[in-house]
Amino acid sequence: MAHVRQQIRDAVATTLTSAVTLVSSRVYTTRVHPLNEANLPAISVYTGSESSERYNVGVTDINRNLSLEIDIYVRETGSFDDDVDAIAVQVEEAMAGDFTIGGLVKSSVLISTAIQFDGEADQILGVAKLTYQVRYVTSLTDVETAK
């Protein structure tokens, strides 16, 4: 087994791979190496910061709040902004359709969307960063099993 955080990341990537047809299965987890023309449009799933606290005194469970980021990359000329939003539609609806991420989490809620564009290259690059706040619970002694 792996850390529940990894299980969440992998489950989201699996869901998006099948649901977001506009990126033709180009869904990565924690992509840090540069993308290029052949890789786009694409999505990469990242698990960022996480805060946690003990559930209750006397209880050995940890309540965790994870920042899950989904980056959408688009390279386009004319309709770049529409294309970013079209992929966002598929991502948001896929995430909403699996609110508990396969039962691994208590909730997953979109808390912010940041969209930026860069027009310095041969085609316009658009990136949307969707940030979900994901709440999940593990025990203190077993972080490979979601509760």
Binding site: R31, V32, H33, P34, L35, N36, E37, L40, S44, Y46, E69, D71, Y73, R75, T77, A114, I115, Q116, F117, D118, G119, E120, A121, D122, Q123, I124, L125, G126, V127, K129
Partner: protein, 98 residues
């Protein structure tokens, strides 16, 4: 002593040296085409490597330059997006591949 910049420019923009002739609207234009691959950052965690096509030519040869005009270079059509005049007679044109 004056620098013979005009002569240098003639040499640089000679098709016998570094330049090439491209299609500009209904006519032609001489200049130097560069298409460097550069890392672009638009806010994602990963960078994106993209080509950055630029065409450098005499400012006087593009006195009526405007957005939406096209250059055809090696059979590829590029839209003119923006341009920079350097103030000494040289213009660099930013291109978008179609």
């Amino acid at each position: 002593m004056a620098i013979a910049f005009a002569d240098d420019l003639d040499t640089i923009l000679s098709v016998e040296e570094f330049a090439q002739t491209v299609t500009y609207g209904a006519g032609t234009l001489k200049g130097i085409f560069d298409n460097e691959t550069v890392p672009m950052d638009a806010g994602g965690t990963a960078m994106v490597h993209q080509e950055q096509p630029r065409f450098t030519c005499r400012t006087t040869d593009v006195s009526s330059i405007a957005s939406g005009q096209t250059l055809i270079i090696d059979s590829i059509t590029y839209n003119i997006i923006a341009w920079l005049h350097d103030g000494t007679g040289v213009t660099t044109i930013q291109l978008e591949k179609q």
